[in-house]
Symmetry: C2
Amino acid sequence: MGLLIVGSIALDSVETPFDKVENALGGSTTYISLASSYFTYPIHIVGVVGEDFPAEYIEMLENHEIDTEGLQIIPGGKTFRWGGRYHYDLNVRDTLFTDLNVFENFDPIIPEKSKKNSFVLLGNIVPSLQNKVLDQLENPKFVVCDTMNLWIETTKDDLLDVLKRVDVLIINDSEARLLSNEPNLIKAAKIIQTLGPKYLIIKKGEHGALLFNDTTIFSAPAYPLENIYDPTGAGDSFAGGFIGYLHQTRDLSFENLKRAVIYGSALASFCVEQFSTKGIEYLDKLQIHDRFLEFRELSRFDDDE
Amino acid sequence: MGLLIVGSIALDSVETPFDKVENALGGSTTYISLASSYFTYPIHIVGVVGEDFPAEYIEMLENHEIDTEGLQIIPGGKTFRWGGRYHYDLNVRDTLFTDLNVFENFDPIIPEKSKKNSFVLLGNIVPSLQNKVLDQLENPKFVVCDTMNLWIETTKDDLLDVLKRVDVLIINDSEARLLSNEPNLIKAAKIIQTLGPKYLIIKKGEHGALLFNDTTIFSAPAYPLENIYDPTGAGDSFAGGFIGYLHQTRDLSFENLKRAVIYGSALASFCVEQFSTKGIEYLDKLQIHDRFLEFRELSRFDDDE
């Protein structure tokens, strides 16, 4: 059974201290599906775009063997557009504009053939829609969910409903602190795990990521990047690499989840090396595995006994 | 040949959200020498205190087989006192007072027998004094140096002179950015390495530490602490564990430096579990090695091939 990915599809205008692009391919579904396409298939995406959405972008996704049957193209509609500007240190960004357009009335309808998908990645959309996606599925085996500060602050009850239904929650450190109301990340993780998710991943940007189950913690290093051209999509590329590897291996042991976190980190590191989705459009498996091995070398040390 | 440690000795008054202590044992020399005492001997300290310095503190250091011949006790003088208050998240602290007292005129005189010490830890003191210490030594084999924002901002030229003479610089991430004038830590490390140190360690608090040589990076995880009682002395305990292990093993390979970073991290994690030096006064070797193994488990993952 396949991998279902539901989230946003956007045209992004991004400025960094180095360069700028306009109407580049963006959105969580886009990054997640591209990142996971190096590991597994079939991948089914569900999302919405306007009539203005460039056909070449759909073609590029299909060339990665991503099934776009669930992609709704609204006649006369305009695609979701987001504009952002990154500061000098690339850790802070300002949103310049958010034009939801057709995304405002997004109704995620899962195609019949995709309802039996066993692995599901709920990209960062309003929690009530994440719930609606889950309602349509027939007994999914493994559900991974992303969210953001906005939903924790404005629709927490809906989010808590989603969390009862997911296997893995992926959030960043500030979101973890906000969701748990606890500054210590280790305590925050314990609190969040009582809300439902069997596993929790806390992304820490340039400091790597933490994976928690109920008894164990895995600390993944960050790839030492000297040149980050565009941080947009890093978190979604992480999620895509993570679930793509798990769907490929069908092994949900903690040891394999650790490897999945490293593959997710690898895809995130490729993503930020170029603008928009360019960093994850032209990869190959050998290149990805080489980076996996670099992560291993980065954090490996031997006992002295 | 022994290990020489030069730095401050203080009486600290510390408030955290959990508790407070007054006139507790503090200072970089204190934490460094205690942490290193679990690994090696002889350890010689050089520092200054006033007549008010409690004899029981000196006795406690001597019970750890730390040689206090280089400890100057100024008749009629008052010991350096520092007061600080930690915020709720323990990542931010306010300095409440700094009474330098006898530390203001500290003249680090190295006892004759200690001039041949092969390993030297220059704790965080004004760089001109760090230079003066090095001037007195006979061809030290391995010099590790700590510093702080204040010296980078006010006495940078003296600091640059010190850096030409040290093997390892240990600083935190904000100090690395300040010293290099570069926000990207990987680029910052390269810039700092051109200033002299063969190895650089960047401490990142709750995010672990990075060790750099000219070609390789090692990323050490942070120990997942739920309860941090007092962060004071964590960096100095790190430095003590690091140089203590290296002095014990006399192995300066990069592989062994990695292990030393983990032992340093282990000592720092014990330090913050209790107030003042209490967390590193009553350890044993087995306990320290067990924590080393916990660090290994925390970051270990296997290849899937």
